[in-house]
């Protein structure tokens, strides 16, 4: 809250309960409505973070601070939870995402080689995005598709039995587009 120190006669500015986010971004309003539905419960933090990531694509500091203020939680707590789960990302994702399942079954079937091939091709490490913001490479711990191991999720579509070659084919299509 800002207190006006220069002019003591002017009363301090009171924050309005339903104030718009200063950025004017409507997504903050949608997020707030979602939090209201969950009665601003502090233990609904994970659900709220899910919604925020769905709306914004990633969780930037502004969004985390907004959530911490609305749920009345310390910012460090919100940051801690957001970084604990691999699903949440604090940096914007690329145009395309490639999620390689590194669960036990996929790993045994050679998912590590797929990751290595993609890493070498894109010159990034798992969890990073290429400098041109085209492709993000992520890994997951078992997506529950062990029967089709090794599975890779390209832009939300699960593709079975991947090899370094087949992954390369898909990645190159994205890079050249």
């Amino acid at each position: 809250m800002s207190v006006n120190l220069t002019n003591p006669e002017q009363p301090p500015v009171k924050p309005v309960a339903e104030a718009k986010h200063p950025s004017g971004d409507k997504r903050f309003k949608i997020l707030e409505v979602h939090m209201k539905k969950l009665q601003f419960k502090q233990d609904a933090l994970i659900e709220v973070l899910h919604k925020a990531q769905e709306l914004f694509g990633y969780l930037e500091d502004d969004v985390l601070l907004f959530i911490s203020a609305k749920l009345k939680l310390p910012p460090s707590r919100v940051y801690g939870v957001a970084t604990f789960y691999h699903f949440f990302t604090l940096k914007p994702k690329g145009e395309h995402t490639c999620v390689v399942c590194m669960g036990t079954a996929c790993y045994v079937k050679g998912a590590d080689k797929v990751v290595e091939a993609v890493q070498n091709q894109l010159k990034i490490r798992a969890g990073e995005t290429t400098t041109d913001n085209k492709v993000s490479l992520l890994t997951a711990r078992c997506i529950g598709a062990c029967g089709i191991a090794p599975a890779v999720v390209y832009d939300g579509t699960v593709i079975p039995r991947q090899t370094p070659e087949s992954a390369m084919e898909q990645i190159n299509k994205w890079v050249q587009s």
Partner: protein
Amino acid sequence: MAAKTLTIDGKQISAEEGASVLQAASEAGITIPTLCHLEGVYDVGACRLCLIEVKGIPKLLPACTTKVAEGMEVSTDSERLRKYRRMTLELLFAERNHVCAVCVANGHCELQTLAYSLGMDHVRYDYNFPKWGVDTTHRLFGMDHNRCILCARCVRTCWHVEGAGTKNVAGRGSKSKIISDLNQPWGHSESCTECGKCVMSCPTGALFRKGSTVGESERDRTKLEFIVTAREKKQWNA
């Protein structure tokens, strides 16, 4: 409140219902090694040094988060427990850069004291030697992540004793790290009240007062207990 009778190391003990085995043991004068436990804040059972054997349960249980039960038979010392405690300590040493000879907490370190008392004479595992930074942006205190054992005592103290919630654990596994606010330099933290309770709570040299010598870095934990007792029981005697 109902009392429970149990035996700890063959000694008949009566403890209040809801008390932890650790509390019951310390009231009976039996010492169990601890590291993440801190008087005044709630227990999390993270360090696994207070592991005990309970008759009838095959696995080892942490004394700090195990509640007393009627007829419980507890053993706090055995070859098996000593073996596991030493192993846990060695893993803690190997995970980050714990080199006592060059540490600000040398001589006042709970990790070091435990290693001595549990007869740890070497570390069987290769040190990880991670490259963690040192945050010296704060006006009064510093945080050396290389010496952090992630016991989260500072986190619990900051949140539940001071009430500021400046510190928390970010990330997971070996990449976990104690952060201030949104992982910003400690000196830029808006919520930090500069009370220094986190420094008092730290068992190692991870949190330190700037400009203090090794000899001065003894920590006054009784102050934390004093505050908690004053707040909860309305008693102002240390």
